[in-house]
């Protein structure tokens, strides 16, 4: 079925489509960019500061933990030293040289923790005066031992705590030696610390799965075993740090004992003990220490990613919707433009017609009167009968042609006068009722049945009734003419309310010959006619179109060749504001 809707189609459709696609990409790109980039920046800043804060906390906790542990180790050592000092200061050498007495003291000081392995009293020459312990050390000479020399010959030191060493037993241990004096005589109370007890104290800290706590002497030798493989008396890969009484924290690749792989990043804290001069250190893989921080970072990255994805998807959908709206609006603008073009076409034809019609009317009047003069003369003059017959025939034909021209010029003038409207309440049903008698006779003579189906409660509209009469007269006459004198058929006129567009629809359908699809776009153009020469001026539909659109309505046609056509007039309840103002 062919349809015409106010003229031609919008041009350059493919160019338009390309433009929409370009706009779509542009919108999506910029919207995504402008929303995701700030999101990422905010996320990054938050992450940066959170990491900073969390790292500081981890470091603080490393400091606190080591501080407490250092106190514990220090306290243990001081306690053992104090016990020995007390024994030395409160007893004489002779008292202590008595094995019974020494044994009693050993039991007393070793009662609680069992921290001492053995206890021996050594004279100024390095020989045992008395010895309590599990080993056979009574006959050992310590005069060449480093600790003996250190306390006897070194700067005046009352107490000496050794580093870990193997000693006679070839077992790693360390000793505490306290110098005692009886007048000029110097002797030493020496005790070996139970390595296991000491180790338990030193190593009794859990620092995650990669963490460890250990002691180093000033040369970097382990004074304790480590949970990550470091053995007592082995050289540590962990570097000896400068002396400090407060706990320090460092982050770096310190190396792992026995591993040749690139060492992991680690966080380490350390502090130096006073006596002995050992460095207590604690270290852990940085990634483990910062596990919580990293976890937060991962979660946050995931949230950012999901948000970015959601933004992107929403942007795509919103843009799609917007482009769709734009598309729709452009189509409406195109239609409006087509209406404007059609209207301006009508206006220019209108101006031209007005001038032409007037100029033609004068000569027509003259021809008409000249005919009349001849007709007058024919009545009174003598002439040949053949000539008279020819004259009368010519006069009749000439007169008919004048009438035909007059019809044309009057149509043209009507066409040019479409600008003047008188707006009032119009009852479309009664208006059609008024029009019907004017064409009833013509319809009857053509064998066409006129069927009117008015909607009973059709609301009145504001419009120009005389112009609308012209429209309906024209459309119904056309519908009758569309039957091409077949002698039968019907024209149906239906009125109904159109609540969607706020107006009324008037459908004029016929059972005539229909309109060819290639002609349907032209039928509203001025001077387009399919009627035989002299029957139609080609202005009727363009006048109707002009009137209807000026009243804010629409004139549409649907047609199928051989089946008939339906002309639909839509008229709004109220004409456009401009028109109303002019009239009021």
């Amino acid at each position: 079925m062919a349809t015409a809707k106010n003229g031609a189609r919008a041009p350059e459709i493919s160019e338009r489509e390309a433009y929409y696609r370009r706009q779509f990409r542009r919108f999506v790109f910029f919207t995504t960019l402008s929303s995701i980039v700030p999101l990422l920046i905010v996320g990054w800043i938050f992450n940066y500061y959170y990491k900073d804060f969390a790292t500081a906390r981890v470091k603080t906790s490393f400091v606190t933990q080591l501080e407490q542990h250092a106190k514990l180790v220090d306290l243990f050592l001081q306690e053992q030293v104090s016990k020995l000092e007390l024994a030395v200061r409160s007893h004489t050498k002779d008292f202590l040289a008595d094995r019974e007495n020494l044994s009693s003291i050993f039991k007393t000081i070793n009662a609680k923790k069992g921290a001492f392995n053995d206890l021996g009293l050594i004279d100024g020459k390095g020989c045992h005066l008395a010895y309590i312990g599990p080993y056979e050390l009574m006959d050992k000479d310590y005069s060449n031992s480093f600790w003996f020399k250190e306390i006897m010959t070194g700067p005046s030191r009352q107490v000496y705590v050794s580093d870990m060493f193997l000693g006679f037993r070839e077992v790693p241990h360390f000793i505490i030696a306290v110098l005692g004096t009886d007048g000029s005589e110097r002797w030493i109370l020496r005790a070996t610390i139970e390595t296991e007890v000491f180790r338990r104290i030193v190593e009794d800290v859990r620092v995650g799965s990669t963490g460890e706590v250990f002691l180093l002497n000033t040369k970097g030798v382990y004074q304790s075993n480590t949970s990550q493989g470091g053995k007592m008396l082995e050289m540590s890969v962990f570097p000896v740090r400068p002396f400090t009484e407060t706990v320090k924290v460092e982050v770096g690749r310190f190396g792992i004992t026995g591993s040749e792989k690139r060492p992991p990043m680690q966080i380490a804290s350390y502090v130096w003990l006073n006596n002995p001069r050992w460095m207590l250190a604690m270290r852990q893989d940085y990634s483990e220490a910062l596990y919580d921080v990293n976890h937060v970072t991962y979660v946050m990255s995931a949230i950012l990613l999901v948000s970015a994805l959601v933004i992107f998807v929403v942007t795509v959908f919103v843009t799609k919707y917007m482009i769709h709206a734009m598309h729709k609006r452009d189509r409406e603008v195109d239609q409006a433009n087509e209406c404007v073009i059609q209207a301006s076409k009508l206006a220019s034809v209108g101006e031209l017609s007005s001038g032409v019609a007037h100029e033609i009317n004068n000569p027509l009047a003259i021809i008409n009167f000249e005919n009349q003069i001849l007709a007058d003369m024919e009545k009174t003059s003598e002439m040949d009968s053949d000539f008279r017959e020819q004259l009368l025939k010519s006069l009749t034909r000439s007169s008919n042609m004048v009438k035909r021209c007059k019809r044309l010029t009057h149509s043209l003038l009507k066409f040019s006068r479409q600008t003047e409207s008188v707006i009032d309440d119009v009852d479309i049903n009664s208006l059609i009722e008024d029009v019907i008698p004017l064409i009833e006779r013509e319809a009857a003579s053509s064998g066409i049945r006129l069927i009117v189906e008015p909607e009973s409660d059709l609301p009145t509209i504001l419009a120009d009734s005389s112009q609308l009469q012209q429209v309906f007269l024209n459309l119904i006459t056309n519908a009758i003419d569309a039957h091409d004198g077949t002698g039968y058929g019907s024209v149906r006129i239906i009125t109904k309310t159109n609540m969607n567009d706020k107006g009324v629809d008037i459908l004029i359908s016929d059972t005539g010959s229909g309109i060819l699809p290639e002609r349907i776009d032209k039928i509203f153009d001025p001077f387009f006619t399919t009627k035989p020469v002299g029957k139609g001026t080609g202005l009727g539909l363009s006048i109707c179109y002009g009137i209807v659109t000026k009243l804010g309505g629409q004139l549409q046609v649907q047609s199928e060749v051989g089946e008939g056509s339906v002309f639909t007039v839509f008229l709004p309840f109220e004409p456009p504001a401009g028109l109303k103002e002019v009239v009021e």
Binding site: H358, N361, A365, I367, N368, F369, I373, K406, L413, R417
Partner: protein, 143 residues
């Protein structure tokens, strides 16, 4: 009645010639002029029963001529005959006192019919006016 005097006003000479001839054969006395100014002049000089007036003319147009003619306070009736007819101009002309309105090209019989109507009206108005005057004179003389 048959000898009604007609003043034909139209800027197109061919038209006035043809029309004059036609009307004369129907027994009218016709004077043709080609413009509004000439028409006013002619009205001032002679008596006419009906003026057939075109609207669109160079110089003084039909409407202006009609207004001027009314100022002369004659009994002459005016019949508008124009090629450019609109409802508005017709209404305006009637308001200004024109007898009727015809569009070109028109049928001679129709025109004659209107001329006769106008002429009759003019006679009636004139008679009425004369009677009024007589009445006034009679009353004034005290009959």
């Amino acid at each position: 009645m048959e000898n009604a005097k007609i003043l034909l006003v139209d800027d197109e000479t061919d038209f006035t010639d043809t029309m004059s001839q036609l009307l004369r054969t129907r027994g009218y006395q016709v004077t043709a002029v080609n413009g509004g100014e000439s028409a006013i002049k002619a009205l001032g000089q002679g008596r006419y029963d009906v003026m057939v007036l075109d609207l669109k003319m160079p110089g003084m147009d039909g409407m202006a001529t009609l207004k001027e003619a009314k100022k002369l306070e004659l009994f002459t009736e005016t019949l508008i005959l124009t090629g450019h007819a609109t409802v508005d101009t017709a209404l305006e002309a009637i308001k200004l006192g024109a007898y009727d309105y015809l569009t070109k090209p028109c049928d001679i019989d129709e025109l004659v019919q209107k001329i006769q109507g106008a002429s009759k009206k003019k006679d009636a108005t004139e008679k009425q006016e004369i009677r009024k005057n007589i009445d006034r004179i009679v009353e004034g003389k005290g009959f």
